[in-house]
Symmetry: C2
Subunit: 514 residues, 2 copies
Amino acid sequence: MAEKITARAKNYPDWYLNVVKEAGLADNSGVKGCMVIKPTGYALWEKMQRGLDKLFKDTGHVNAYFPLFIPMSYLAKEEEMAEGFAKECAVVTHYRLKAEKGKPLHVDPTAELEEPLIVRPTSETIIWKTYKEWIQSYTDLPLLINQWCNVVRWEMRTRLFLRTAEFLWQEGHTAHATAKEAEEETHRMVNVYRTFAEEFMAMPVLVGPKSDGQKFPGAVYTLCIEAMMQDGKALQAGTSHFLGQNFAKAFDVKFTTADNKKEFAWATSWGVSTRLIGGLIMTHSDDNGLVIPPRLAPTHVVICPLGRNEAERAPCLAAAEKLAAELRDLPRNEFFGYEPLSVKIDNDMKNAPGYRFAEYELRGVPVRVEIGPKDIEKAACVVARRDMPGKEGKTMGIPLTGAAAHIDGLLRDIQKALFDRAKKMRDSRTVTANTLDEFKQLFPVSGDEEKELGLDALKFVYAHWDGTRETEDRVQKEFKATIRSLPFDGPAEPGTCLFTGQPSAQRVVFARAY
Amino acid sequence: MAEKITARAKNYPDWYLNVVKEAGLADNSGVKGCMVIKPTGYALWEKMQRGLDKLFKDTGHVNAYFPLFIPMSYLAKEEEMAEGFAKECAVVTHYRLKAEKGKPLHVDPTAELEEPLIVRPTSETIIWKTYKEWIQSYTDLPLLINQWCNVVRWEMRTRLFLRTAEFLWQEGHTAHATAKEAEEETHRMVNVYRTFAEEFMAMPVLVGPKSDGQKFPGAVYTLCIEAMMQDGKALQAGTSHFLGQNFAKAFDVKFTTADNKKEFAWATSWGVSTRLIGGLIMTHSDDNGLVIPPRLAPTHVVICPLGRNEAERAPCLAAAEKLAAELRDLPRNEFFGYEPLSVKIDNDMKNAPGYRFAEYELRGVPVRVEIGPKDIEKAACVVARRDMPGKEGKTMGIPLTGAAAHIDGLLRDIQKALFDRAKKMRDSRTVTANTLDEFKQLFPVSGDEEKELGLDALKFVYAHWDGTRETEDRVQKEFKATIRSLPFDGPAEPGTCLFTGQPSAQRVVFARAY
């Protein structure tokens, strides 16, 4: 299978699209910029949803659903938001087609809406319009609501999962009685995202605020989780916004305080999307195809009985079925979301073992078990881990008795190994630039394509910055690097901006980004 | 609380809307025809999704996601579908707004789409356009795919959950190598819906084909599940369509058969929506509010410690917490979807017990436990079942030791009792009309409002029909009754059409409908 996939070192963007398509995750559709999420890709999203949804509920949130359409006048009420999203809005202007015999189907010109409707690019406006009805008193607060839905942001240059006109996401929208509570929520949720990224996706992230130039339109500030992909570029993987009273003021949402005053409510919003699937792929996958951390794997284990004919195959298949049943019967537990392990038996008689193994490597199944006639003689099996393809990750002679428990442990080991490997990669490529010359060396700009630089060229670069939007814009223009994060865990000592010589409060992280 | 709710017998439509609003299920939004599904309503939908999704996966289906937008030309390719949906399409014509200083936000006239996009009213066309890429050989079949999503059908007269411009649903779209397999799938899925309706929703349904006048645009035939609401009206609760080769032909989806011929693929589609929530309410709820079958209840048990002051309350609260922990720790099992029982402790010190109890009746929590100082003396509690409000459903002196197991059993009893009661109601109001006069008596037409007839007036009426669309249309016009089902379980003997005297193959079910 691997020949279907361009090597990462050769052309990373091509490699990415090859993996997405060959592993059956997604495809372009006939509708410009919109993707079809194929069953394997959607199964990954369902696993992500389950994990996130539980984290949201454990922190006191409930789900609800608000309309797909937003009247244009709602969007207009928050100026930054209107400006931020105007250029990418899909607009519904009519509510009827006309099907007449002998004429092509066409838009009925008599069915024009009085007010155009925007297909939601994000739901702050319609939700705060609704919250006006729900919030009267401090006893109605906090309101801790999340929504799972589709959103549309018209994009001209799209890439499967990473940037599409329509995508799936969740958006939390909370209302609080005090700024302090809302700020605590903003931090709580970015930490929930960190937990999900690190413990489920095995993807280490930097956590911290965005610079003003990168914050969400309508937010006072934006916190984010930022991950490094294998090409050294940054991926913004999730954001949590402190919205202050901006939306409460735009929609006149006032509540009566405990001491009987009127005050505007305080807001947060936070979201992650199907973009995470792109991040997952670019964090772990390799030149053989997809690599999925076990906690998110739609199929945990594939068992391949071997043998050249039915007679040889029969006892191997029987052993495979027994092992599959033992794996499925392991006690349900939190690590795997209280679902049984998902086990597939591949009893393909047509294709050679090598072809079959490559197929499951391509699809990222974390553990493959092989049971051939010689294994049966020893009452044993061969166990191969996907995160170490080839001989390195393959162990012979695992006794069939106890194999289920062994595999359960191995899945947990793989989860940890993937995180450790990704963290090691990121840490080894995180550097500090103390002079403009050093910075220039780290962001070479010859040619438009990072791929010409080689896979290892790009890094996360800590550098001093004077805190101004002007400098940020200049660096973006000159080096195509943006400020990804002012990480909470980063070094905090003050210094001098590399670009202007002005004072800097702390080093921030610059990187090329998706 | 009950005073917030109009009695069913007084005005059934008002009662319905009162329950929806007072129990916090849904609300109208600022967008015409679109609803906001509030947290309690959405929690119900999540429970329904979990139950259905498992049934779909157990029958071999996988989930995927297709674009929200459908190019107008796709819709035009299947003529019946284009005609059937043209009048209710939301149409996207532009992809940008313009935010200029000093001017109101407006649609950018230079950003008109070359081809208008329809917000999906149903996804057959975009999915079969995609299937053309996925289906080449008989080895690619069957393709068994389901999608959970939102759809839009522009409606002028809307009612929360029952008929809204935007609603949430699932739509299954399968492709098969033979008509036989596709027809088997059509039947399999209507039976999955029956299982879900009867075993999860405790809502008995008739299963059978629709008449041609009621079938889905583009289908060869439509099977449905049809339920009776408490006002005797019918609710179409789910449909499964055999689409023949209509969509394969419209989108040129041919596959190579085992003997190397080219053939068009055979299709089915099937769906249920948030309309089911309306059906659930109108099947079980009463003048005190919502009644939810335990398998779908977001909260299974509420425990109310009593006592007039902190000192009296303390031991009751301690007992409540112990019982709650015992309930949550019961072994996870299939009946409750392998999730722990959801238990709430209500330790409200402000409101009187009667107010608190009424609140949980309104919200439909299946079991309420009361623990007061006198109960503590006897190491016992009071257990009240929601399906029997008042003294009838209240048992005193349940020993706290063993109460968790008792409540677990009671929840299962309630599930069964709700189904039995609903079935008894439906069966007692299902009658046969053998003459036109009898039929006329059963569908009185004085006044527009069924409510004037009283709650018990309407029935399911078995009557002979000549099988023609003309007669069906005439009956609809004269009696406002439609053919709801040609039920598989119904009597099969032939006879004479009541309306035309022509031969009839079997009696069919007429009713007024939502």
